[in-house]
């Protein structure tokens, strides 16, 4: 049965006729009383409305199947752009009144303007102001505006995280990843979300108020910086080095670039260079977490514990309860032989995170008796201890040899054994004694 049969009308392109028929039939198949009948009728109605659009469109567009019809509909949002472009081609622009420029287009022009003005573009407030314009709020334009903005960002995406967060607040990218994936390429969706959550953040504050950037091709620099980050992440050290060098020549006051350089130097084993880079990071940004942290790790590995501790102190002032920092500080104290300090730091770290494996390992190491000075024992105690040690080893020895001893004794009682047996028995005892001594050495190490 076709949908038209269910509705009891002839196929038509007229929406109102379908609605009328549906309304009439709905009284027979009331959703309260006849759920199945209603479902059938409803599906017929929805499908009839779709077909009606198609039928109504057919005379004008001779060949067009349903999918194409839908496609054309989806393009509608973009129609304004085509129209605008046609306008621009007209020779006499003065005739065109300004108000006729489509608001979305005007907005995108403003975005472009802002993007080109580098000092303003890295300020979240300037984006906030722009994004509060009426056209952004207007739901009528929301889809085309978002499409336009994202396609602009695909080519121009060097923005600080704070600006991405403002964009996220307005367009709620991170709340609905699925919807983004439906419309935009996956790599760029991932890129946007990464910028918002800040997992690969490259900061922009070093450019703020810096006179040096005026002479630099900033777009080129930002491109090099991001490429270098990617190459380092992929372990392509050669490519990374070239990019880092070029970028460093252009602009030398960027702590994030300096950090990447130090990572590169560490990866190729040039410790001194790495240390110099980290030094520079800290000069540029005295409270930089990564700078101090990587330097502390490096200094610890170089056994320069005192210097490492100085860096870690800076970090502990920022975050007194960070397990990683506490644990590394403990290890530095351990390297210096300061057992009490080690235990104190490890305990603090353990209180924060009782699964931190380094804390465990080095905390227990600090308990090792080699790290303690032993007070002299009293004579009686020493004798007692020696006696206990003797008992202990006697029991261990018996535990290993009881079977041969019993066997030998039994045989000796009931049989007259040849001398070779005595020697064999003594040999067994001696062998076990040797085994015991060996195990004692193993345990004590």
């Amino acid at each position: 049965m076709s949908v038209w049969d269910i509705l009891e009308i002839n196929p038509t392109g007229e929406e109102s006729a379908i609605k009328k028929a549906y309304a009439k039939k709905l009284k027979q198949h009331h959703p309260e009383d006849d759920p199945e009948g209603y479902q059938r009728l409803r599906e017929a109605y929805d499908s009839a409305l779709k077909q009606a659009k198609h039928i109504a469109a057919t005379p004008a567009l001779t060949v067009m199947d349903e999918e194409e019809a839908e496609g054309a509909e989806g393009d509608e949002a973009w129609m304004w752009q085509d129209e605008d472009e046609e306008w621009e081609e007209e020779p006499d622009e003065t005739v065109l009144p300004e108000i006729q420029v489509h608001p979305v287009r005007r907005f995108l022009e403003q975005v472009e303007e802002l993007y080109e003005d580098f000092p303003s573009r890295i300020e979240p407030d300037s984006w906030k102001a722009l994004l509060d314009s009426d056209v952004v709020w207007d739901v009528e334009h929301s889809q085309s505006l978002q499409d336009g903005l994202i396609s602009f960002l695909e080519d121009s995406h060097y923005l600080p995280r704070s600006v991405w967060e403002v964009l996220d607040q307005v367009f709620r990218f991170s709340a609905d990843k699925e919807a983004l994936l439906e419309r935009y390429p996956e790599y760029f969706v991932e890129y946007i979300l990464r910028q918002i959550n800040g997992s690969m953040e490259l900061r922009y504050d070093c450019f703020r108020g810096s006179a040096a950037i005026d002479d630099v091709d900033i777009e080129e620099y930002l491109y090099l910086r991001e490429e270098a980050q990617e190459m380092l992440g992929d372990g392509e050290l050669e490519e990374a080095k070239d990019l880092l060098d070029t970028a460093h020549e252009m602009f030398a006051d960027d702590p994030d670039l300096e950090l990447m350089r130090s990572k590169y130097f560490l990866a190729v084993g040039e410790t001194d260079q790495a240390l110099a880079s980290l030094q520079r990071v800290i000069e540029l940004r005295p409270d930089d977490w990564d700078g101090h942290w990587h330097r502390a790790q490096l200094l610890h590995d170089l056994q320069r514990y005192e210097e490492a501790l100085a860096d870690l102190d800076v970090l502990l002032q920022q975050e007194p309860h960070n397990s990683h920092v506490l644990s590394l500080a403990g290890r530095c104290h351990l390297g210096l032989g300061q057992i009490e300090e080690t235990r104190e730091k490890m305990k603090l770290s353990y209180e924060q995170d009782n699964t931190h494996i380094n804390t465990f390992v080095y905390w227990y190491m600090a308990g090792n008796k080699h790290f303690y000075e032993q007070p002299p024992l009293k004579r009686a105690d020493r004798r007692k201890a020696r006696l206990h040690t003797f008992y202990y080893w006697a029991v261990v020895f018996l535990r290993m040899t009881w079977l041969p001893i019993i066997l030998y004794t039994l045989l000796e009682v009931f049989f007259d054994l040849p001398a070779i047996c005595n020697r064999l028995f003594i040999l067994i005892l001696l062998w076990n004694l040797w085994r015991m001594i060996r195990s004692e050495r193993f345990i004590s190490t």
């Binding site: 609605k19 009328k20 309304a23 709905l26 209603y38 479902q39 739901v139 009528e140």
Partner: protein, 567 residues
């Protein structure tokens, strides 16, 4: 026998009925239309509801519960004195009070009701609402979506035969957007979208957060009484900012006075992130209905929070026009629910309107997917009923085994829009045995049936054996046996509820206690004496004397309150 329509709101609730040819709001015992959705337990362990409980929110915060609708359908427990309640049980007290108001007003017993719920309420939240009604002794004839109820009330007065409109419902705790079309006597819901965690309360909470931040205070360091007082200040400030350009919040903590003056632009700045959250649901609802804002004939506002000029302004910006404001945002839903009772009974005075609704979420199950290389990956969401499908609806999908000699198939029921089930909400699960066979040879039919009340039933049939399993998805009650439910019901019946006829006196005392808490020094003494005198008069049980004392006491309290405003 009568049927009533109830709007069970986050902050306020209302009850209405169909009176011959129109819907009418039933006033409560105090003569007011709105009954605050607040429950309190008094010193004797009996339950107080509404305005009295609201007064006690300040004086006895630990014995009082509010905004519990936000936690409907969850495991959250409220401990009030010796009692512990679920959100559904607290709601049942409100419903019971409304039922009594209706019975007093109509003079007949009321046992049936149409209750409104946010359109975006999910299955377990709807179940909890139904259960609340059952505890209160009401049979739920229909759960109706709040925006749909509002749309009916609006549509009843439309002269245009065909109209498309959007209902913007910002209540105390939830935000719903519905797109509807009215034609040929059919009210057709085209799409629903929303945010279950955005409401008027959030616009109050940002003020609290701002106040605390400005004075470097921590909410946790304040006792519950101060917290309630702060909440009330924020609420008053929010409402004042709707009328005037600036407002003040003041609070005394441990004898130190804190004050904060705020103007409208500052408040708008604070509220900006919340306002931005209003957009996505609107966009989605319109997209699902394949309409653009210019296709709409009207934008209707319901829910108390839409009174804020802030919200109205932003709606104007979003739609490029001012919203339709000829309806009362507080009462429309209840009136719509009352109209629905009449429709339900096919009332003669009413030209028939047939209501068709949609389901707000996609419902489906979890399936294993084959990756390109022959490997299997589990946890993929397989939609069976897509969101915004007209209801009632019933859909079947056939699922196959993935392993050789598989003995049983697990059907997990999920709700949500993500491609992976881990991001969706699990509603329930059922298992069915199947005869062993090579992978892919055995199959089951999974049928999802979504009824007109928005409640889901799942049926699974093994194709080869014909074995059938069926569940009405019930997540929360699952752990309780029938006897336990019965026993709990009995317990709740035994709890005393403060007698309705003494409500006014009780309210005056509660109000007096609140003023006492808020006042200081001499004024405090004066209030204490006034309360004592009034209580003494009540003890005489002499109606004439009580009436006189009530008048005096009432006047005195009003005086006091006026003074407080000036101080």
């Amino acid at each position: 026998m009568s049927m009533i329509g109830i709007d069970l709101g986050t902050t306020n609730s209302l009850v209405a009925y169909w009176d011959k040819d129109q819907a009418v709001i039933i006033p409560n015992v105090l003569g007011e239309h709105l009954t605050p959705s607040i429950v309190s337990v008094d010193e004797n362990g009996s339950i107080l509801v509404g305005r009295i409980a609201q007064e006690r929110l300040i004086t006895h915060p630990h014995l009082t519960a509010s905004t519990f609708k936000r936690f409907m359908g969850t495991e959250k427990k409220y401990t009030l004195g010796a009692h512990t309640f679920t959100p559904a049980e607290l709601s049942s007290f409100i419903l019971k009070a409304l039922k009594e108001d209706a019975e007093a007003h109509l003079g007949v017993e009321v046992t049936e009701a149409v209750i409104s719920v946010p359109a975006y309420f999910n299955d377990s939240q709807r179940k909890a609402t139904k259960r609340a009604a059952e505890i209160a002794g009401l049979k739920v004839e229909r759960l109706i979506s709040e925006p749909t109820a509002a749309a009916i009330a609006y549509g009843l007065h439309q002269e245009k035969p065909e109209t498309k409109f959007l209902v913007f419902d910002l209540g105390g705790g939830t935000f719903d957007v519905s797109v509807l079309e009215l034609f040929e006597g059919i009210m057709d819901v085209k799409s629903i979208a929303g945010d279950n965690f955005l409401g008027g309360e959030d616009f109050t909470e940002i003020l609290i957060a701002h106040f605390l931040e400005k004075h470097k205070l921590e909410l946790a360091s304040l006792d519950t009484k101060t917290q309630s007082a702060l909440y009330k200040q924020a609420e008053t400030c929010k409402l004042a900012l709707g009328q005037e350009t600036s407002a003040t919040m003041s609070l005394t903590i441990r004898d130190q006075a804190y004050e904060l003056r705020l103007d409208r632009t500052e408040y708008e700045k604070l509220a900006h992130p919340l306002l931005l959250r209003l957009r996505k649901p609107i966009e989605r609802a319109l997209r699902d209905a394949s309409l653009s804002p210019s296709d709409l004939d009207a934008v209707i506002l319901i829910g108390g929070a839409t009174r804020l000029p802030l919200i109205k302004h932003v709606i104007g910006r979003m739609f490029g026009r001012m919203p339709y404001t000829n309806i009362n945002p507080d009462e429309t839903v209840a009136l719509g629910a009352a109209i629905q009772t009449a429709l339900k009974q096919r009332n003669q005075a009413l030209e028939e309107i047939i209501l068709t609704d949609v389901c707000p979420y996609t419902l489906g199950t979890s399936v294993v997917q084959e990756l390109g290389n022959g490997q299997l990956s589990s946890g993929h969401f397989f939609p069976i009923i897509e969101r915004n499908t007209p209801i009632p609806v019933s859909r079947v999908e056939r699922l196959y085994t993935v392993h050789d000699n598989q003995k049983r198939l697990n059907v997990a029921v999920y709700q949500g829009e993500s491609r992976l089930v881990e991001h969706n909400i699990k509603l329930g699960e059922l298992q069915i045995k199947i005869p062993p066979a090579p992978a892919g040879e055995q199959s089951i039919d999974v049928r999802y049936t979504y009824d007109i009340n928005g409640i889901l039933e799942v049926e699974v049939v093994s194709v080869s054996t014909g074995e059938k399993k069926r569940v009405v998805i019930e997540q929360n009650e699952g752990s309780m046996t029938k006897e336990q439910i019965e026993a709990r019901l009995q317990e709740l019946q035994d709890i005393k509820i403060h007698p309705r006829d003494r409500t006014e006196n009780r309210l005056l005392i509660a109000k007096g206690e609140r003023l006492y808490e808020e006042a200081l020094g001499e004024r405090r003494e004066a209030i204490a004496i006034a309360i004592q005198q009034f209580e003494k008069a009540l003890l005489t049980q002499n109606d004439k004397e009580i009436k006189k004392a009530t008048e005096i006491f009432k006047e005195r309290l009003e005086q006091m309150e006026r003074w407080m405003d000036f101080s």
